[in-house]
């Protein structure tokens, strides 16, 4: 349980625009990587690249022992589906079906281990299990989507703004659950604009603006200038 997830020199281009370049990160087990950055700075794109939903223009993502992670997971769909749980902006729940039906369906598809009702209790949506998703408020729907994350067997959580729509109590519950997950040796990558309440000694901050194209090209210019001097 000491494998780490390491991204190296990742570059993402969407359309003609360079979203970020030369981005590298390390996520050891039991730690969280918090992605910070303005809208459009590529937080979601980075998550999609890790999840294999977007191709990276450049760079690799490795998984393995901390010294020399050697398993390239980019495009390894089997590995990703077993080890990574991705929660996107959208909840992935069908409005016509009840919360329980939705969760049971994904439990089937993704081989969930957790019991739906106990996990739903932890995030406070157990009273909505028999309601159709279209009746839920956005916060309740988000909690239902988070229940899927709790049931998922994957050790690496990719959470794209998990707190959207959640009230104060919901955020508190979520930070408790994320800390529990880290305690068990799981890892978390989370994009967020607010404080998630993860213990400071367990989390690392990644500022997306450090890897923006403008900054990278500026530092290159600086280097060239200093060479000229």
């Amino acid at each position: 349980m000491t494998e780490i997830l390491r991204g190296q020199n990742l570059t993402c281009i969407r359309g003609d625009k360079v979203i970020f370049c030369d981005l590298s990160f390390d996520v050891p087990p039991g730690r969280a990587l918090i992605l910070n950055g303005a809208n459009g700075s590529g937080k979601s794109s980075l998550m999609k690249i890790i999840a294999g939903l977007l191709p990276a223009q450049n760079g690799e993502i490795f998984y393995g022992s901390p010294k020399d992670p050697d398993h390239n997971i980019l495009g390894d769909k089997d590995w990703i589906s077993r080890n990574i749980c991705y929660l996107a902006h959208k909840n992935g729940l069908k409005p016509e079906m009840t919360v329980a039906e939705n969760l049971k369906f994904w439990a089937n598809m993704e081989h969930h281990e957790g019991d739906i009702r106990t996990e739903a209790e932890k995030i406070g949506v157990d009273h909505c299990l028999d309601l159709p998703v279209c009746y839920l408020s956005s916060g309740q729907a988000r909690r239902a989507a988070l229940t899927r994350v709790l049931c998922h067997p994957g050790r690496i959580w990719l959470l794209d703004e998990p707190t959207v729509g959640l009230d104060v109590i919901g955020v508190e519950l979520l930070s408790g659950l994320m800390n529990d997950h880290l305690m068990r040796g799981g890892s978390i990558l989370a994009a967020t604009h607010i404080q998630l309440g993860i213990d400071a000694d367990k989390s690392t901050l990644l500022n997306m603006s450090d890897f923006s194209y403008a900054k990278a090209s500026r530092s290159k210019d600086d280097q060239e200038e200093s060479l000229l001097c």
Binding site: A51, G52, L53, L54, P55, D78, I80, S81, R82, I84, Y86, A88, H89, K90, N91, G92, L93, K94, P95, E96, M97, E101, F105, W106, N108, M109, E110, H111, P132
Partner: protein
Amino acid sequence: MLKLALSIIARDLRLSMRHGSATTMVMGFFVMVVIMFPFAIGPEQNILERISVGVIWVAALLSCLLSLDRMFQTDYEDGSLDQFILSPVPLELVVMAKCIAHWLTTSLPLIVITPILGIMMNLPETGFLPLILTMLLGTPALSFIGGIGASVTVTLRRGGILLSLLILPLYIPVLIFGSLAVKAAIGGYPAMEHLMLLSGFSLFSAAIAPWAAAAAIRAGLE
């Protein structure tokens, strides 16, 4: 694997039942299109008799198109499609299951009401069974080929019209062999080769659609 495919089909059937309107609208459209012809052409029975098979087949193709654009789009909009891609289930299997679910919710109800429309169009008695049989054999191709079109247009906002333009030409073989087989049966000629070509076309589309559509979805989401 089979269990997972069945649970995707069950989910889509349940969604269509809850949603309700899609299937009934398609059936309503089918009936309306066929009813238009006697009004436009007049009540001459021999003319209606001659065009009945063709009209019913064309109406079935058009009705099938109506519900195609939602096949993957609702899943794309609520994020389920991303989750399908990330889940251990192969996307090809998901596409296969969704095409089958589309056939069950769209084509099967059309086939059920076809006999009534046959009476309305003065279809000869000997034509009823052959018509139902050809529709059973031919309509799976509509769902499978339609699945390819739906996956190509899934990320487009108003993909419905483009979808029709892409897909309708590919439906022509089904139309030709479907109506030829029924006409041959009515006229007392052997219809076997038409039926075989029709089912061959359905099987062929079932074989290529999952791969083509899954590739199109992956490319489209990038």
